[in-house]
């Protein structure tokens, strides 16, 4: 697999859209390209951030946060 093909697969991989048969080939190429592959995959995960930031933030209630912080502090005390 060329590195360009690997890059195409990597973008699919990070959004979980690789088909099983593609995943196997992808993992072989990933090992082959080693560090170069890992750096590229890491960059591809920025797509997640970009997709999330393309959305309009939603409002949440203060009660939700209070509940969360209570749970966290409760967990800490255990």
């Amino acid at each position: 697999m060329s590195f360009e093909e690997f890059q195409n697969r990597a973008r699919l991989y990070v959004i979980g859209a690789l088909e099983p048969e593609e995943t196997e080939e992808f993992e072989i190429a990933r090992k082959e390209y080693a560090q170069q592959a890992e750096v590229f995959i890491s960059q591809c995960y920025d797509l997640h951030e970009a997709f999330a930031l393309s959305l309009r933030p939603e409002k949440t209630s203060d009660v939700l946060k209070q509940r969360l912080m209570l749970m966290v502090r409760d967990r800490q005390q255990k």
Binding site: E19, Y45, H48, A50, F51, L53, V72
Partner: protein, 222 residues
Amino acid sequence: MAIEPSDKEGMSAAQNGAPSAPRMPAAAPELEPGAPTDLELMQSIQAEDPEALSQLYDRYNGIIKALILRVIHNEAEADDLLQEIFMEIWNQAKNFSAQKGKPLGWMVTLARRRAIDGLRKKQAYARAEERLQTETEQQPDAWVHNATEEEITFSDTRILVRRVINTLPPAQQQAINLAFFRGMSQREIAAKTNTPLGTVKTRLELGLKKIYDGLKELKDEL
């Protein structure tokens, strides 16, 4: 805590705080002077400081909830899931590594996975599918909300990212939308859209490459 709209500087590097390979912008909001970076907050969370989680929550709860809602389309379930996700961020913080990516990327990955799992577990899939079907029929190119909303938080970032996404043909946007926000495989997308598998693959590859390249270009311009 107030979050200023992101500026044209892009905050990725500053907020990441870690040396790394050049990254796409996906700029997070600008921070107030003296405010801890996302990475500093994650490090504090790793040291079990609840105040850091509180700050991270204030900074990103709206974005994470928007992501969840995009997947499950149910306000009450989204709130429950939002709480669970931030609890998981607290519990799993030790697994976060700055070398592998930025805190927001890690949180989004975690939130997306939980939301898609939640969607399937709660058997809301069929109902959501129906809603999605209606949405896609009505607005095949509707990747994001309209740009008329009045809130300013994240607005600059969102506009920049949208600009990139909106350059894609509707079919590519739809394929990526179904894959990312619905967790659908290529085969599932092919079946859902009545499109040959090879075409779906091409749409996904081309679309993702365009977004990736577009975001990189944006970064170069900033």
